[in-house]
Symmetry: C2
Subunit: 183 residues, 2 copies
């Protein structure tokens, strides 16, 4: 099988990258705890050219960020396996974006409220009949399971994107065989 | 929204963890380039209690591994958003596994062939009418786009798993609202 990444698969289409960042539901936050990597899945929003996520104000993620806030946030979607009569040419259809930058805590209640509203807009659009209030967010930040919650911002200094677009007729499906009639 | 991870959501069910590692299609390899995290999506197989992946024998991933082979391999699946009349209790249904260990190159052709056969079994089951030959793998390793390809093994010393199982009636769907009739 071909390795998933090829240099020639760079994606420069800003509209496609933005759409992908706006619609993909999970991102992977990579941190370095000294020389030990640490990768956690997170819900996120892409807003004002930043990645925003939230989490408990304690735990390993937060303690790493306090020591070293350099981050790599990777967002990925796989569309299926591309078949080929030659096994080594088996391939993967995918899109991925990597964002590099430092993570910072969002300290202003107004900003955190606006970010959490973006989360609701993304993950449960139309579910609530009125916008989130600062009072609700303030209560939320200080009372979730008796732990405080923080909102974080990653303002990327570098963004790279790769894609291998889907060619549906070449994708694998159960029962497909390498007979010449498939090519 | 609740942060995606809660300590009380640890999963200890080995059968469930194994099934998840065997069937999830993409994993995220986290490396530390000095103190700079680097996270890339990869196809992988879980075999003989190790994570195997492959890739070109050059590039940033390989140059980092040569300097620091400590890795965190994270596998994640999200099942949807769990709604609640209280916005702060919006939640995510998911399963995730993190594996920590050092990455090593698989140097024996026999071993690399067996691993690549596992890849074909996982990603294109039944597609080829005969097993992969060592000759094919040897040719593949030395001739893909004139670059060599390597197979890597991560033998984990630590595995952690978390889950928030799906309760389908509580998942968000387009058009769902926070009216009392939904609860």
């Amino acid at each position: 099988m071909r390795p998933i990444m090829h240099a020639q698969r760079n994606c420069e289409d800003q509209q496609k990258i933005n759409h992908f960042l706006n619609h993909t539901r999970t991102g992977l936050l990579g941190l370095s705890d000294g020389l030990q990597p640490y990768v956690i899945p997170l819900n996120f929003v892409w807003w004002n050219s930043c990645i925003y996520f939230h989490g408990l104000s304690s735990g390993r993620k937060v303690s790493i960020i306090k020591q070293n806030n350099a981050a790599c946030f990777t967002i990925f979607e796989e569309f299926g396996t591309v078949t080929d009569p030659v096994p080594a040419k088996t391939d993967t259809a995918y899109m991925s974006v990597m964002l590099f930058g430092d993570v910072e805590k969002v300290t202003q209640l107004e900003d955190a409220t606006a970010v959490l509203q973006q989360f609701l807009n993304k993950y449960v659009p139309g579910f609530y009949d009125r916008p989130l209030s600062k009072v609700h967010v303030d209560k939320y930040r200080s009372s979730l399971d008796n732990q405080t919650v923080s909102v974080y911002r990653l303002q990327p200094h570098t963004i790279t994107a790769k894609h291998n677009p889907v060619n549906e007729q070449h994708l694998f499906y159960p029962g497909k065989s390498a007979s010449p009639s498939n090519y």
